[in-house]
Amino acid sequence: MNTGLAALGALLIGASGLVAACAGNAAPALADRVGAGVLGAGAALAALAALLALAGGSDTLAGGVLALDALSAVFLLPVAVLGAACACYSLAYFPAAAHPREAPRLRAAFGVATAGLIVVLLARHSFVFLAAWEVMAIGGFFAVTAEERQREVREAGFLYLVSTRASALCLLALFALLFAATGGPALSPLAPGRVSPALQSAAFALALVGFGLKAGLMPLHVWLPPAHAAAPTHVSALLSGVLIKSGIYGIVRVVSLLPDAPAWWGESLLVLGVISAILGVALALAQHDLKRLLAYHSIENIGIIALGLGLALLARDAGRLDVALLALGGALLHVVNHALFKGLLFLGAGAVIQQTGTRALDALGGVAKRMPATALCFAVGAVAIVGLPPLNGFVSEWLIYSGLLRTIAAGGGAVWVLAALAAPGLALTGGLALACFAKVVGVVFLGEAREPAAQATREAPAAMLGPMCALALACAAIGLGAFALGAPLGAAAQIALGAPGARPDAPFAALSLLALALVVLAGALGLALRWRLRRSPRPSGPTWDCGYAAPSARMQYSASSFAATLVRAFAFALLPRARPPQLAAVFPAASSFHSHVPDAVLDGLVLPASQRLADLLGRLRVLQRGSVHAYLLYVWIALVALLAVSGASR
């Protein structure tokens, strides 16, 4: 019944674009509303199903081809929430009236991709899974390339398409392997010892690459930043918020199918996670483009999630079920949280971009004064993503941390060393994320606009503010309502770990109380200050600039300069490129400073390598020069060669 609900929801969401089209492109506004409405209805159904499933009502549909259990539900819930939020947001952000040609296609692609994602979460049959996966990927492709008039968008789209196909081929191999091993397409847990360990490891490796490509684990992340930068912002929100999580879901699901996991699975996940987390956030810190910055933060958060997953696997092998539950619970909760606050951040960024017309951090500034509500929502998202109390990010990171700490406290073995390195790594990640988002909030929303053109004009419309506020409230709710999380997280984690009845033993109530205390204390202090300052004059006079006569907005600390120290500290990994100003004469001419941090993997490895390969293959073209004599010669060479082979085989 729940599964049916979810499937119905998926159906509605997938059809939303079509329905809207039927509503008619003659009345674009109407079509927008109808599309969003249908999608919203489907999302509501899906969300309801997810909640029911989390409450313990897992069931199957169509003879087990589709099924909805707590594990799927944890991933399904944010899909529904964020999907609806983005659909509503698009009413004002990407209306058909403004984009008569693109909007209907985008609407359809958006719905199809979301529906495909939902079916991926429900599928228990390899063909259905792969089909839904590909539908999701292709729908995502069309959503990303909605504005394919721009060359940059086309290139990003192609990169996305190629990497998604690479991942799909890995999954094809993976499921073919399972099919060959089990003799059936059903995705049901293997009996221990049924399949050889080597084969299981091969399957896991394929899953790691295939799903890792989709999730954006370093170094498989190359497609992610360009695609997020190119896509319309609400699509970026969906991509980064939930779509890439399908990769995480896949890894968890596959691991839950394979009974006996050797240690290296968990170790590789943990190490990849730490690398992704640290390098992801370091690269984010170095970005000049608001959306690329957020995209790199997705890589960081995926890394944190992978870290939790790996720890959970290792702990399960070591028989520390409590640690495994903490780590996996944290990872799963972080999946939900990241969907909420990253969605929120992208939507906020979209509002800013729409108002100011630029994504360049070094042009922005002072947005908060014209868009206070947007600024508040974005700030909430920032605090949440940095993992600070009292918001949701803190809870999930806390769970993963305490998993690590318990491992360390227990001591012994390779796990201990990894954990002892991962915990400070996570701390470093947290510090860098703090620096990065302090920078974003400060540079975009506070101070003054650095370019006059980038001056925000007015607050975002209600259709965009509404979803942002909803997401911000959700972040706060999870942060304050942590006490309610134990049961659902346990329900989901025990499926992945195959440990029925277990639930993470964490002082969720204490976390709630702490958050509450913080809110109350800060609130009280704030009110007291308000009261004290009630009679003090309105803001007056310029900022004290230490005696400098004519301060201008251009003199503010820019995003790049804010990050400079840390970027230099991580130069060994980021390989920044800077063009310093040339001061030649006594009275030097006007000069400029330019800095840029390339993506080491994409610009340093993937693109050159593919160029090289293409050139190499190009060499073969001399074989096809148009001479019919040569062609006939090939025929004879083939003949003689095959005859020789067959003669030799005798």
């Binding site: 908060a368 600070l388 201990w416 506070l446 964490a506």
Partner: protein
Amino acid sequence: MNAADVLLALLAPLLFPPLLLGAITRTKARIAGRRGPPLLQPYFDLARLLRKGVVRSRTTTWVFLAGPVVALASAWLAAFMIPLGARGALIGFPGDLIAFAYLLALGRFFTIAAALDTGSAFEGMGAAREAAFSCLAEPAALFALLVLVKLSGSTSLGSMLGPELPQLWAVGAPSLGLAAVSLFVVLLAENSRIPFDDPTTHLELTMVHEVMVLDHSGPPLALILYGAAVKLFAYGLLLVRLATPFDVGGTALGAAIALVELLGLAVLIGVVESVMARLQLVRIPSLLVGAGLLSAFGVMLLAG
């Protein structure tokens, strides 16, 4: 712990911190051969500031005021997590050391935001430095705490620093020693003391923390100074408890001893500030990384 202890644990973080600032200033003055301001001068300053009016820049928003408030609130909560003496942490639960670190991080986040809110190049500079240095300080602190976690097998500050701390010293003295040293370095860095930052300098270009609050005045500035003191108190309490692990039984007595030790720490800081020069900014990261490696080494000693 009984009502009196609770009251003590509640009041100490509220009332005691400014005294530390006073002690430090006094020590430095004495070493410099001056008499220096009275020990209670910080309290007077706070009272004066609270009575003053406020001048705010046109550039600023609500964030400008939120900064001091959140910083102080989070610093208080953090301070409540450290036991006064062997026992008697007001807040304590498994894994609270993470909460401790993240509360202080929250304060930092808002302080930085408030600084950037003014749109001043200098405050931006300070904010950038604050962010960068704390990034490096945090892993160092965590490594130091990991030593305690490994030895005590617990993840709650209250029990890690609790009565059985002496036994831990008996087991892992070298590691704990290294941890204590690196914690001291972190303390100096996080509370912007020499050699990392000179609270009394007048050259904005070299400031870290002070330059971030240039535009604050009146009550908000008071909150900032007070919050900084509370933060120093929290770190100091953690450090003295780690460094002097003995347990005298009774909560109140233990608390009293701890506070005295804190004053001692303040004097020590004063001495350090008087005998050392401020580091070049570019050299600071390496010092923090060094501290981190120190405590990491401490952890590695416990491997296996």
